[in-house]
């Protein structure tokens, strides 16, 4: 892995649950994120996948400092950004930008496209002098594949895919080094999704960006990511390169998740083993003891109830050079191929 640009250690976010109106007592906490660590290399794309409620969006919001963590550190170039405030925080924020999921609600309907993309310059005037801004915005529109003449239009005059391009242009305005993209394509139609994914990849090489790419669509995450982390109920359960995670998963949750993805190949219906999990994700306000996945896991044993499995390379793979040798938080980690190997490219 290249040198880390962003490092997250033991990140925790608990939202207090209170009772009473005047004398609020804390009666518990929603443990949205409960000890997440990872590193993002320069120029790398780290994908984070997980189902709704697993805490992936909360992680994203903490990375751009929209949410303060309860505990833990986010180190950007050697500096813990969770401790920063005022001017120093503002300087860091310039370098870590976000692209939001819903292009329909993340753009102010009363602002023109020029104002939306130019707003970052109002906050960070040192990036572009006033007279220069209009030109810069038009350049950005061109970069994301929109007509620069659209600068005076309003968001409602654009389609979903075009709006997401506007959101991306806004994220790029300050020339950040890291972009956190939270489900950037999930609201888009299939044919438009591919356009936006390609755009994100092109921009990455053009501006040497590092991406944290959060999504629930496992195919898209594989396509765009160098490394992938799988989250379940506030924790990363498995992390590794795309080959390690998709072709050699060792955590039962990853295996179940991968086997449940509908594959656009009717032939696969017949010779594909599907692991159908029972039940729903437990509430993050009262997560199961020990391993959080144990309530839905077919491998769960006594040990899983009492002992929290650490996220590390399982002992049996520690000395091997197989792709199964990557961090997996399971006491009984074992390789299982769930994605059938692809036939030779046609």
């Amino acid at each position: 892995m290249p040198e880390a640009i962003l490092e997250v250690t033991d990140l925790v976010k608990h939202y207090p649950l209170t009772q009473g109106v005047l004398f609020k007592r804390q009666i518990g906490a929603v443990k949205a994120v409960d000890g997440v660590s990872f590193a993002l290399g320069a120029g790398e794309t780290l994908g984070i996948v997980g189902e709704s409620g697993c805490g992936k969006s909360t992680v994203a919001r903490m990375l751009v400092n929209l949410e303060r963590p309860t505990a833990g550190a986010i180190t950007y170039k050697g500096e813990d950004i969770t401790k920063l405030s005022g001017r120093a925080l503002k300087a860091v924020r310039r370098n870590i930008q976000m692209v939001f999921q819903d292009p329909y609600t993340s753009l102010n309907p009363r602002m023109t496209v020029g104002d939306i993309i130019g707003e970052p310059y109002e906050i960070h005037p040192e990036v572009a002098p006033k007279g220069d801004r209009r030109r810069k915005v038009q350049e950005l529109l061109d970069v994301v594949g929109l007509n620069p003449e659209y600068i005076n239009r309003y968001p409602h005059q654009f389609s979903g895919g075009q709006r997401q391009r506007i959101g991306i242009a806004r994220g790029l305005a300050l020339r950040p080094e890291v972009i956190v993209a939270d489900e950037p394509v999930s609201a888009l139609d299939v044919s438009v999704q591919a356009q936006v994914v390609n755009l994100l990849e092109r921009l990455q090489s053009e501006f040497s960006l590092s991406y944290v790419f959060i999504a629930h669509d496992l195919s898209i995450v594989r396509h765009i990511s160098d490394r992938v982390g799988v989250m379940y109920l506030g924790k990363i359960v498995e992390i590794g390169t795309d080959t390690q995670i998709y072709d050699h998963p060792t955590h039962p949750y990853t295996q179940a998740l991968l086997s449940a993805v509908p594959v656009p190949d009717p032939e696969a219906r017949l010779h594909r083993e599907r692991i159908i999990l029972t039940g729903d994700v437990p509430s993050p306000a009262d997560p199961p003891s020990g391993c959080r996945f144990r309530t839905r896991c077919w491998k769960a044993q006594e040990r899983c109830v009492v002992e929290v499995p650490p996220l590390e390379v399982p002992p049996e793979f520690r000395l091997s050079l197989t792709p199964a040798s990557h961090p997996s938080a399971c006491h009984f980690a074992a390789e299982k191929q769930v994605v059938p190997p692809s036939p030779p490219a046609a």
Partner: protein
């Protein structure tokens, strides 16, 4: 034939003009068969379903032409009273968003039981017992205790099961499922699709599955109709269409989805945007985005060409389907 839609046209009158949402759709479903209707937003797949169910907003909507034959009877010629007796009892619909499709101020037991009270004239007590049976059938744990719960007390997957239970209540012969799993997580999506397939087999129902997800289609469908700008551009048995699409739009869709089993190069992207229904391009509606488009495509609306006759008919609305098929 259980259901036959013939040359259906649906229009919506808007402030800016007439939006032609459905422009001559023809498809059919037999008992026990699953037809997947695939398309992007605005392709007319849901509007067609609403027309079949008779829940189209009229006005602004209007069925301009066509026939919908259900068990041999043209639904469009029936009186509203007769349609109402069919709707819910003999054909039912499962909606995408269970939270907004269920009534938040009524218990799920009351909503499930209503089916039996209205259509079968059962007493409240009997209908409540049937509601519990139904919830058991769609595998909702502790059905007896939960029958008095409200929709918001259930998780997304459980709510979708309640929707399925409601649709199945009177054992209809046709079910239309409009994006039934789009709002669900993958592991829950697999559970719900499995359940739906199992119940379909058991009751030998016809199923129209409306979706934009090529993966879901591949998993469950027998045949596919691909829609674009209110027309069916390709219809084929599921295996053949994935192996060799006969329409450039289908081919583009298949090429533009990233794969789970390999990293792959740059994705193929269909250029441009879905058409504006107020001004559908002349000739083939796909021609401005089509890599194979030629002058003929801008002038002549392609008819549905027969790609293969037997054993199962396969059609494509592309002048150059042969080229596409062998590309």
């Amino acid at each position: 034939m259980l259901l036959e839609v013939r040359d259906l046209h649906v229009e919506f009158t808007t402030r800016d003009g007439v939006a032609k949402a459905v422009n001559g759709v023809t498809y059919s479903v037999e008992a026990g068969e699953t037809l997947a209707v695939l398309g992007e937003s605005g392709s007319g797949k849901s509007v067609t379903a609403q027309a079949i169910m008779g829940i189209l907003d009229v006005p602004p909507g209007r069925i301009a032409a066509g026939e919908i034959l259900f068990k041999g009877r043209d639904l469009l010629k029936l009186k509203e009273e007769e349609r109402r007796r069919i709707r819910g009892a003999d054909m039912a619909m499962i909606f995408q968003d269970a939270l907004s499709a269920l009534n938040p101020v009524l218990t799920v037991g009351a909503q499930l039981g209503e089916m039996f009270e209205v259509h079968r004239g059962m007493s409240r007590k009997d209908s409540r017992a049937r509601a519990v049976e139904l919830m058991d059938r769609v595998k909702i744990p502790a059905a007896r205790e939960r029958v008095g719960d409200y929709p918001h007390q259930f998780s997304g997957g459980m709510r979708q099961r309640i929707m399925i239970a409601m649709a199945l209540a009177l054992e209809p012969s046709l079910i239309i499922a409009d994006e039934p799993t789009t709002a669900l997580d993958v592991t829950v999506q697999a559970q719900v699709m499995d359940l739906l397939a199992e119940l379909q087999r058991e009751l030998n129902m016809g199923l129209i599955l409306i979706t934009h997800d090529l993966g879901v289609v591949a998993d469950v469908a027998d045949k596919i109709a691909v829609m674009y700008a209110g027309r069916i551009v390709e219809a084929a048995p599921v295996h053949e269409i994935y192996k060799a699409p006969a329409h450039p739009y289908t081919r583009g869709l298949l090429d533009s989805i990233p794969r789970l089993d390999q990293k792959g190069q740059e994705l193929y992207a269909i250029k441009g945007l879905p058409p504006n229904l107020l001004a559908i391009p002349s000739g083939c509606a796909f021609n401005p985005r089509c890599p194979m488009a030629r002058p003929l495509c801008r002038g002549d609306v392609p008819p549905l060409y027969q790609v293969t006759e037997s054993p199962v008919p396969r059609t494509s609305a592309c002048h150059f389907w042969k080229e596409c098929l062998h590309a």
